[in-house]
Subunit: 463 residues, 2 copies
């Protein structure tokens, strides 16, 4: 097997200079912080905390068995989930099945749809595409009570009942939820739905390598054992206390040190169409884990880097102008793929015209990688810090490695920021307001408050 | 016809307080600036500059004629373009044809693919989906020399020749490029390709309402006259010198005033799956227009707000934690849709469980709008500024209105920042470096420089 290890190149963080990048002294001076953060994470893990770190070693035979059955019985597979119950599924599918999976003429596994929004046209529109009688639904919510997901469940449940009758409709559903508690687990007990557990202690945004992400992957033919093998390999790399051998530690350290210098935005920019949705998955992981009002001492800190998703080469024609000339507030994290599955050789034609002559004979693979390097050179010359995650190729092993590596990087960054990277208290207020607006019992007081706030609304400021 | 006017609600910019929002005095005190900026734009327009502002009044009969012909002769329509030659096409298609357009069982118009990346698997992968013999390609590049686009042209040109032979292959291509100059225009003259013009003086990111965006829209059945009628309506709204009647002026003013207070990020967050890609289109418009190293006096300013694309309700479970608890560096620009084309009524079931009981009887439309309001309430309570563009519904008229409104907002913001909102000098360096790396004639010196820079690369900092 050729080299499968992901490497992190931070040369250009050092070249951006002392003001907008890091010096070698700053980096090496922070070695102890990084070492302690890695050790703190591993100690929490050893004490039984951070259960997501053990996911690479889980037994997946039940998932594979269920997937094989679903694959044979259904044409289409629909995930009903949102946030951490959707982003990993989408990222894995785009990366390993490719951007055209659902449209390919030759395909022996079910199409995959991830309905991660309570938009009416999105949900109703799916009925123009799939036949409920030939479709399986995977309802994923750890708590078992996520409003968007239960709404979709109610909606498609009725459609399946209409399509196949009141006897067999439950066979079309797999409920992935807390192993012991919550409304969906209660339904599993009462009505005998098939189910999978979201293992206890595994939060939504750290759940891609659990049954949350693995069932849809297995149904669509992904080798989930290789995905976990890659994650286990990343575990070896990222448990090393020596930060200079640990890409998660260095990735976290660079970003936290730059944050302290006012570089508050990280742009994740893969140069590979297949990794587009990994950037989206990462945006949740980074934003929700590190964006916090208080630190672990309860002090108000309002901390948190803002992740921005970009895609190379596409966004060279959209965002790179800002990245090279705008404020010095960004670190770009490139993802570069060394070997693509196909090269896409470009034929020679119109070689008498200089705009065409230099292209013929090259391949799309050479072109996109030259564009990545060209953009990197331009950023360096503009004094902008950037680093690069280099993937030897995109496959289940390297993807599992990348996902786990970025999860550990996030946990280490949480240690360095001294915040809780595993909660999300800031989403509660909006949820409660939504319950109140929908008239949920017990939220009447909140509803009255919102009504009073509405009264302050001034039409003068509506233009 | 029910009310079709888009309104901009800035109440919650004022409620965020003097430090992180704006006071009424600050806003009203800037009235003169806003008025002057609107007038400056309209004066430049009157002098023959800013030709994109006249696009709503163009004759589109040639485009409609060509679209009708293409629609009948081909199964699939592929845009080869990048940046401004792709983002508008994608935004219009998702908004008006819906997220499942290519997969719908009932569809009388060709599928649409926009290949906006030089990724090998993306380009080669399309051949698993479309039959080149039944596919039309629209090659879009204003300069006629964009490397990514010409590469894709070379690649698919050969595939079409292989599929239909050396006689008829040119019928499969429409070249949209500068009306007078450039390599593609030369090919049109030499080889008789069908073509459309990118009108002179219309830059890529302001070209969605030109033939760049209109041909693919018309091919897929969009009423492009309504799109332009909406844009013309927005022109009426946004040419008003009184800023308090001009949503583009207020949108620009709020953002520039907040930028001066350190709020450097704008999150565009539509609560509608169909508008997801409008946020992406806006991200180019805003970033590339306003991210500038120098102002119009040539002084170094390194200015530019960073646009972030989000999607409601989805990203409540991904980004809202950061928006409510992280640093005070963001303005959220919601887009809210008053009436959806379908409601998606939720049936009653499991009403004995409180997690289900409050949902039954509501609709997805009610749910997503309650979520938008719930998130808005939470942001207000957390002291975060936000504003809302309210669309009565999503149709060609309101979409054209929104696109034009945001373009004018960008131009006004450029005036307020005192920068050139219509150039993109910062993308040149990366392009030149790419040419050098690919061995383009004339770039040998640059190639040698890059080779020397590579030699400084230190393997020690690759982890």
């Amino acid at each position: 097997m050729p080299e499968q290890r992901i490497r992190l190149d931070i040369n250009n963080v050092l070249r951006a200079g002392a003001q907008h990048g890091l010096t070698e002294d700053e980096l090496t001076g922070a070695e102890k912080q990084a070492r302690q953060a890695v050790q703190a994470i591993q100690q929490r893990r050893a004490s039984g905390d951070l259960r997501w770190m053990e996911l690479p070693y889980a037994d997946v035979s039940e998932i594979e068995h269920m997937a094989a059955d679903l694959r044979h019985r259904f044409d289409d597979f629909v995930v009903l989930g949102i946030g951490g119950s959707a982003l990993g599924n989408i990222a894995v599918n785009t990366a390993l099945n490719g951007p055209f999976y659902n449209l390919r003429r030759e395909r022996t596994t079910p199409r995959l749809f991830v309905l991660d929004n309570s938009d009416p046209e999105f949900n109703v529109g799916l009925l123009d595409v799939v036949d409920p009688a030939r479709t399986a639904f995977n309802v994923i919510t750890k708590s078992g009570s996520t409003g968007e997901t239960l709404s979709a469940f109610l909606f498609f449940r009725e459609r399946v009942i209409q399509a196949v009758g009141p006897e067999n409709w439950r066979d079309h559903f797999v409920l992935t939820t807390d192993p012991a508690s919550g409304p969906l687990r209660e339904l599993v007990r009462r009505e005998g739905f098939r189910s999978l557990p979201v293992p206890q202690g595994v939060g939504g945004r750290y759940s891609v390598l659990s049954p949350v992400g693995l069932l849809s992957a297995a149904v669509t033919g992904v080798d989930i054992r290789q995905l976990l093998a890659g994650a286990a390999y990343a575990d070896e790399l990222t448990r090393q206390a020596d930060p200079w051998r640990n890409p998660a530690a260095v990735g976290a350290l660079v970003q936290v040190l730059l944050y302290r210098k006012g570089i508050h935005i990280v742009v994740m920019m893969p140069y590979a169409q297949r990794l587009k949705d990994v950037a989206d998955w990462f945006a949740q992981l980074w934003a929700e884990s590190l964006g916090k009002r208080v630190n672990r001492q309860g002090e108000t800190v309002y901390v948190g880097p803002t992740p921005v998703k970009a895609l190379g080469a596409t966004d060279q024609h959209s965002q790179v102008q800002l990245y090279t000339e705008g404020p010095f507030d960004k670190l770009v994290d490139f993802i570069r793929v060394e070997r693509f599955a196909v090269e896409g050789r470009l034929p020679q034609a119109y070689t008498e015209m200089s705009a065409f002559a230099y292209l013929g004979g090259h391949s799309f693979a050479e072109l996109i990688n030259a564009e990545q390097e060209g953009t990197a050179v331009a950023l360096t010359e503009a004094g902008r810090p950037h680093m690069t995650h280099v993937l030897p190729e995109i496959n289940a092993f390297t993807l599992g490695q990348l996902l786990y590596l970025l999860e550990v990087q996030t946990a280490i960054a949480g240690e360095l920021f001294d915040i809780d990277a595993f909660d999300q208290p800031g989403v509660e207020a909006g949820k409660v307001a939504t319950y109140a607006l929908l008239g949920r019992a017990g939220y009447e007081g909140r509803r009255a408050e919102i009504a009073r706030a509405r009264e302050q609304h001034d039409e003068h400021w509506v233009i």
